[in-house]
């Protein structure tokens, strides 16, 4: 097979495709609606209803040991209100409504404060959001946060009542990820089902078949011309949708809930193989039927395997992880290869030219 000829077929098809403004519009809009608007509609109301703090059962601790006076800093023995501080060491301070990052706190009373990347010892914490902190020999209540590392064995933070969002979040995120897999399976069906039968109906297939282009080159060109715009639109909507979700979660809860490895793997290997599978099935249908409408009607069924995968994930039978993504992509890749050889084997120029009226 000569790739240059397949490339010419693809460029020719894309050139024709570009002239169909409505089709181009639908290729761009559909992933944006399904991958950006739909997740927002799903998540935003729930996020708004969810309190930013969770209820924690924090055991009362008796502070034991020596309260350090070793740190003599400018901020010692001060009451700090509405301050933002970075890279400081605080000792014996009262902190109210403060934003602190990369600090070491010792023997402080902390209220209504957000603390990131801190080491806290021998302090009392109330109504405080903690992110990536190490706490020892402290006590607190109404705390919230993530990556809280307790060094002191007597200190344990136990979340006793997860929010509704936290209960449904994994399910909803899986659903969003599956949307990004099902989009490249459904999006190219119209282009792909039109590929052969459309040319036949326009009577432009005979001159193409009379060129030295081989069956494999024609099929490859047709597949690529449906694949490239589909994946470009899908990846674009993925980047936009995920960025918005990340921003919302980060600004509201201070963390990003998406499992980056699984999601990126899904988009790089599972989405393309799913897309190829759908296109190849549609091209096969397109080369066997004699009417565009029939091709598109039958082509609608090619997304069924992807729907089955989606149902498996949503019902919990299939757990989405990097391993399952790679396994599914490998299986789809093998099916793609089989479909390509099958499509080439049943591509019959004589039948296409003489049996279609």
């Amino acid at each position: 097979m000569r790739w240059t000829r397949a490339w010419i077929v693809m460029r020719k098809d894309l050139d024709e495709f570009k002239k169909q403004k409505l089709v181009v519009g639908s290729i761009i809009m559909m992933p944006l609606v399904l991958g950006v608007v739909l997740p927002l509609v799903m998540f935003v109301p729930m996020i708004n209803m969810t309190p930013t703090t969770d209820v924690w059962d924090v055991p009362q601790l008796i502070i034991t040991g020596y309260l350090s006076d070793d740190f003599i800093q400018p901020s010692t023995n001060r009451t700090l209100e509405n301050v933002s501080m970075n890279t400081s060491v605080l000792t014996n301070a009262d902190l109210i409504n403060a934003q602190l990052t990369d600090v070491t706190l010792s023997s402080c009373i902390i209220e209504n404060t957000t603390i990131s990347h801190a080491t806290i010892q021998k302090s009392i914490l109330n109504n405080t959001y903690l992110n990536n902190v190490v706490i020892t020999e402290s006590e607190g209540k109404n705390l919230d946060g993530q990556n809280i590392v307790s060094i002191n064995s007597s200190l344990s933070f136990t979340k006793i009542k997860p929010s509704e969002l936290q209960l449904v979040l994994p399910l909803m995120l899986n659903m969003v990820l599956m949307i990004f897999i099902i989009v490249p399976a459904t999006l190219p069906t119209i282009i792909a089902t039109y590929s052969i039968v459309g040319e036949k109906n326009n009577r432009s297939l005979e001159p193409l078949l009379a060129t030295p282009t081989t069956d494999g080159e024609i099929l490859t060109g047709k597949v690529l011309s449906a694949f490239l715009p589909t994946m470009a639109a899908t990846l674009f909507s993925f980047c936009v949708g995920v960025s918005i979700l990340d921003y919302i979660f980060l600004s509201r809860f201070g963390y990003i809930p998406l499992n980056t490895t699984t999601w990126v793997l899904a988009m790089l290997v599972l989405a393309p193989t799913t897309c190829f599978m759908s296109i190849l099935a549609c091209v096969i249908v397109s080369s066997k039927v004699s009417d565009v409408r029939a091709a598109q009607q039958i082509g609608g069924f090619v997304v069924m395997p992807v729907v089955v995968l989606m149902l498996g994930v949503l019902s919990g039978f299939i757990l989405l992880s990097p391993l399952t993504i790679v396994l599914a992509a490998t299986a789809y890749g093998c099916i793609d290869l089989g479909l390509f050889y099958f499509a080439r084997a049943i591509f019959n120029r004589e039948n296409i030219l003489t049996n279609w009226k």
Binding site: R5, I8, D15, N202, A210
Partner: protein, 307 residues
């Protein structure tokens, strides 16, 4: 050279063409004539390696039709104009031709030059970027014809090339075909336009699901019709007509107004004798010419006989 021996195609039980045997030397224009459904397009498709023969063989430059290994090489050598233009309607004329030239590996510079020349000759250069979907039927046909030889093939198969063209465009296309012939290309034409075939074809085959007759248009006419001479005179006495009919080599005499039409075996030999007879009897001879039988006469006779 195109050679076919007993080329036959059946679609199920339906016979499209049977026992098509022909030898078309290089540089010739060969016409395939026949009524609708006579198997002309099927024959052309078989020779283009688009469909396989049921029986028989054909070769183009020793490459065998129906042989999978040779099919791609044959397609590389030919240019095909199908029954309908089959252009990409949303693309411009230039792009339509450019994509096809690329399929045949024509280098970019040569493509540009060739397409510019062709579209200029066809009067379409100024509109090269307009979608061809908005063009008239004739303009589309011109582009489709240009597409069939944009890659300079040695063999060009044209199915009804001048159908739907206005007389001026048809003339341009005919001139193009003759130009291609002068370049040494071999051209196979399916046509219903008999006067066109008569004008440009070196040989023709009349087919009707089988080979009915093959040959040079003039030779075919001579083989089918007796030769006639037409003599324009001022006046002749009726009594002389019988004497004229009894002359050696004259088989029939008709008189219409002042036109004498004589069926003769060999005008080259008998004309002097006939003229001498008329002059001797005081008949004033104004013109002498041979009655020509058009290809249409030949075609209608052959097809009529076959029915």
């Amino acid at each position: 050279m195109i050679v076919s021996e007993g080329l036959t195609k059946y679609f199920g039980a339906v016979k499209a063409i049977e026992d098509f045997t022909v030898k078309i030397p290089d540089g010739q224009i060969f016409g395939l004539l026949g009524p609708n459904g006579a198997g002309k397009t099927t024959t052309m498709r078989m020779l283009s390696c688009l469909i396989k023969p049921t029986k028989g063989n054909a070769w183009i430059d020793d490459l065998e039709i129906g042989n999978k290994d040779d099919a791609q090489k044959i397609r590389q050598m030919i240019g095909l104009l199908p029954e309908v233009p089959g252009l990409y309607e949303t693309l411009g004329a230039y792009k339509n031709l450019d994509y096809y030239a690329q399929f045949y590996d024509v280098p970019k510079a040569k493509r540009e030059e060739s397409i510019k020349k062709t579209l200029t000759d066809l009067g379409l250069w100024e509109r090269r970027n307009e979608p061809v979907g908005g063009f008239s039927k004739g303009m589309k046909q011109k582009i489709a014809i240009a597409r069939s030889f944009v890659h300079e093939p040695r063999y060009i198969f044209l199915d009804e090339p001048t159908a739907s063209l206005d007389p001026e465009a048809a003339k341009t296309v005919r001139e193009y075909i003759l130009e291609l012939k002068a370049r040494g290309d071999t051209i196979l034409i399916n046509t219903h336009n008999l006067s066109e075939a008569e004008r440009i074809c070196d040989s023709v085959a009349v087919v009707k699901n089988k080979m009915v007759k093959i040959g040079n248009p003039k030779e075919l006419a001579r083989g089918l019709f007796s030769r006639k001479i037409r003599i324009t005179i001022d006046h002749i006495a009726n009594t002389l007509l019988n004497e004229l009919a009894s002359l050696k080599g004259v088989s029939a005499v008709e008189l219409t107004k002042n036109q004498l039409v004589l069926s003769v075996q060999n005008p080259e030999e008998q004309n002097p004798m006939i003229l001498s007879f008329l002059l001797t009897h005081g008949v004033k001879v104004q013109f002498v010419s041979e009655e020509e039988h058009s290809l249409e006469d030949v075609y209608l006779k052959l097809i009529g006989e076959d029915q």
